[in-house]
Structure formats: C-alpha cells, structure tokens
C-alpha cells in the first residue's frame, strides 16, 4: 500500500498524525507543506469533498491507496487500525468511548481556541480580539480536565493513546500564551513532559525546521457558531 502524509510543522493536528504514524510504525512518504500559506489547497486531492470540507481547518492530509483522508483524530484511528505498533486506543469498549468523547471535546472546544490564540500570537495581533476571553477560558478548562484526569495515572486513558497525542498537540503551544492555565498544575506539567519525551512524539518533533514548532500555527476549526 502506498501512503503519503502531507503535513506541516510538528504542532497541532500535524503533530498528532506524525506521532501516530511513528508509534504505529506505518511506512509512509512524508511531504512537508506550508499549511499557513494555504499549500494544502494546491494538492492534487484538494478539491475532493472530504478534503475541501474538512472542518479541522488547515490540517494534514494522509493519502492511502488513492484515498485522501483528513481530520487528525480519525486519521489516527485509521492508523491505529492498520499499523503494527502498540494499540493507541484502550481495548475495553467503555474506555474507547471515553477516548472518543475526550477527543471530541478536544476537537470541538480546545482546538478552535488554541488555533485562534496561536494564530493571533504568531505573528502577534494577526486576528481580532473578540474571542480572546472565551478562548483562554477554554484552554483553562482543558488543562483543568487533564489535571483531574491524570490523578494517579501516567496517561489520560490509563495507557498511552490518541487522547494524549491530540491533547498535547493542541496544548503544548498554549503554555507561554495562557500561562495562568498551567500555573500550579503539577500533574499536567509532568504529563506534558512525558508526552514530549515519548519516542513517537520526540521523533515527530525532531522533524521541526523552526526553533519552536509549538509556535507554528495555521487556521484551525471554527469556533462554535451557537450553543
């Protein structure tokens, strides 16, 4: 099977997919694109509906046997199904449900806030300030949730999973931008360090071409329109 991953700097959804690819030992051709410059829209698959209409925003694209796939959590589930590396979702169906609801909260609440704050800070002031307060609250809530969840365990779902990768990928760049969210959160701090040091994430981060990949952002999912 021929697999190609079009990805940006190892941050946000590109980091989730790169790390999953490495953890699952899926052989793939890696093609670097500049997501912030819209290079995704010049790909041969860009006009396919499931690429063009991906609501993740400017995220990576995995092409497997001609099928172009988007949305980092679902690409990660696909890689978890096909790869030979250790499972990245728990075996128990209830814990799998927890993993999927955790990721759903992350992509629906944390990711839009993080992408907005990241884009606004890099370069500074690039977006209007209207969602600032709400987005910072969402980051605080995400960190609170992790601090609570990680109590007495190494990883969010007990074993290393897609939930760790997706949460880390959106939050690593928030530490300098929303410092109050991470203050006095010792369990979150050690969890962030553990995820960063995990072999798959470390390998993904080693692909960075900028000194601080966590400062590399492109347009993310839209902020909830209502309710």
């Amino acid at each position: 099977m021929r697999t190609t991953l079009y990805h940006g700097e190892p941050n946000g959804p590109s980091l989730t997919v790169l790390a999953t690819l490495f953890a699952k030992e899926v052989p793939a051709e890696l093609v670097r694109i500049d997501l912030a410059r819209g290079e995704r829209h010049a790909l041969p698959c860009a006009r396919e509906p499931l690429v063009a209409m991906s609501i993740e925003g400017e995220g990576p694209v995995l092409v497997a046997d001609g099928e172009a796939m988007t949305d980092s959590v679902f690409i990660a589930c696909y890689l978890d199904d096909v790869g030979r590396g250790p499972a990245l979702r728990p075996a128990d169906p209830y814990e799998r449900w927890q993993t999927m609801t955790w990721c759903r909260q992350t992509i629906e609440r944390t990711a839009p806030a993080a992408a907005y704050l990241g884009c606004r800070a890099h370069p500074p002031g690039a977006a209007a300030a209207d969602h600032l307060g709400d987005s910072r609250t969402k980051i605080r809530q995400a960190v609170d949730r992790i601090e609570k969840q990680i109590d007495g365990r190494q990883w969010l779902m007990g074993t290393f999973s897609i939930a760790d990768l997706e949460s880390y990928a959106w939050l690593a760049g928030m530490v300098p931008l929303v410092p109050e969210a991470f203050a006095a959160r010792p369990r979150t701090a050690s969890w962030l360090a553990r995820v960063k040091a995990s072999p798959a994430v470390a390998r993904a981060l080693s692909l960075a071409r900028t000194p601080d990949p966590a400062a590399s952002w492109s347009v993310g999912p839209e902020i909830n329109r209502w309710g």
């Binding site: 509906p49 099928e67 949305d71 696909y78 209830y94 799998r96 309710g227």
Partner: protein
C-alpha cells in the same frame, strides 16, 4: 429487566441516534423519555445522571455514557447483532468523517433553523418567570445562550443566512456522496446512515425546493430505504409528538432514478 437504560427525547436528532442503533442491534432497553420542551433534562433527577444536562445519556449497568455519536460506537462494539461499523479501516474513517460533518457543521445549521421555527415558539408562551428559572438551571453556558436566543428569536439575519447556505451545500454533498455509493460512507448500512437519517429525514418536507425526487433522487432513495427498515419503525413508535410520526413522501415507492452509479 434489561441492563441498558436510555434517557432520550423524541426519536430524532441526537436522541434518535442511539435509539436507532440499539434497535438495529436488537438490544432491549429501558426507555426514559425526557420532554425537552418542559426542560426535563435540567431537573435534578436527570442532572444526577448527566451533570451536563444534555440529551441523550445511556446507562449500561453501572456505566454512564453521553455524547450520542460516541454512544453509538460503544453500542456497536459491545453488543451482539449486525455490525454497524464497516470492517475496512478506510470505510471506518469515512463513517467518522461524515458523522463529524453532521454533528459539528450541518447539524448545528439545521438545528438553528429548527429551534427558530419550532423550539423557540413551542416554549415562548410559558410563564416568563418560569422560563427564566428554567434557563438558569442549565449547566452549560453555551446551552443557556442557545435557549435564550431560540426563545427570544434573537438569531441574526446573517447567521440564519449562513445556516441556510450550509444546509443547501450539505444537501448537495449528501446527494453527490449517495450517487457514488448505496450508503453514506461505505457499501454497507452503518452508523453514518443512522446519524444522517436522524438529521435529514425531514429534508424533503422542510426544504422541498432543495430536496425532492427530481433534484436529489439519491437522497430520497436513501431516506426511503432507511424509513422502511423495521428498526426505524420500532424506533419511531416511541415518539410522543408529531415530530417523528409519519413522513408521507418517504412512504411513496421510489420510482425515479436514484441507484448509485
């Protein structure tokens, strides 16, 4: 007594998703009907089950599950019965992609319009003091905003127009996808179809100018096929209002072209 209890409203939208999945799997469950329009979901008895006050929620033994789409994946994995997720990993990816589009993009556009024309007016005549108290009890701030907007008819012209644009585009996307395959995301009936049907069954009634036998024959074929399934009929029999009772156009035999290419 079954060890599954489902807290749900009418057999459509988010409530209808786990209901239909359970029916398709042949899983018996205790039904606990909550009247959304009477704010049953924000009463202390239900908040003790689901502190977020969202519908639906499912109890399986001691386990409490929320989030309708994730509940459906759980139901499919844990119970015997026909598999509602395809075996092929790429098909599974497609099922999840379409469910996300419906849950996070198309669904909110449908429901903004649905709440404006149905939910808002349905509760607006209640005693204002009682309504205010009911809204104050809602745990999630986003849901409080949604209810206030629906009740006071505060949706802006621009946001309603954007929702209409998305509905029209979503209908075109569904039609194109269903022209390619017999089912929404794969060649077998799956959770994506259950999700999609619960969102889209009323399309030809609510949006007849956008979805009809001439313009969207594949959508009509798809809806009629799901409408006729025994599980759908059993599910709809649990409805208490006219929301999911009968859709005459889906009872007509499908005569126009609509088979996938």
């Amino acid at each position: 007594m079954p060890d599954v209890t489902l807290y749900h409203w009418e057999p459509n939208a988010n409530s209808g998703k786990p209901m239909l999945a359970l029916m398709e799997k042949g899983v018996a469950f205790n039904s606990h009907y909550l009247d959304l329009l009477s704010f049953d979901q924000h009463q202390p008895e239900y908040l003790a089950v689901n502190p977020q006050g969202t519908i639906p929620a499912m109890l399986h033994g001691e386990r409490v599950l929320t989030e309708s789409t994730a509940i459906m994946e759980y139901v499919d994995e844990v119970f015997e019965g026909p598999r509602l997720m395809p075996a092929d990993p790429r098909d599974r990816w497609r099922v999840r992609w379409w469910m996300k589009l419906m849950d996070q993009w198309l669904g909110p556009s449908f429901s903004m319009i649905g709440w404006k024309v149905f939910v808002g007016p349905a509760v607006r005549d209640k005693d204002p003091k009682e309504l205010r108290a009911a809204i104050e009890r809602i745990p999630l701030p986003e849901r409080r905003v949604a209810w206030r907007k629906a009740i006071s008819g505060q949706f802006g012209a621009e946001e309603l127009e954007e929702s209409r644009r998305r509905v029209a585009l979503g209908i075109r996307m569904l039609e194109e996808e269903l022209a390619r395959r017999p089912w929404l995301a794969s060649d077998q009936y799956s959770l994506a179809d259950i999700n999609g049907f619960n969102l889209a069954y009323a399309l030809p009634v609510v949006w007849p100018e956008l979805s009809n036998d001439e313009l969207t024959p594949h959508i009509l074929r798809w809806l009629r096929t799901i409408y006729a399934r025994p599980a759908t009929k059993a599910c709809w029999a649990m409805g208490r209002t006219s929301m999911a009772k009968r859709v005459a156009i889906l009872e007509q035999p499908h005569t126009t072209p609509g088979q996938p290419a």
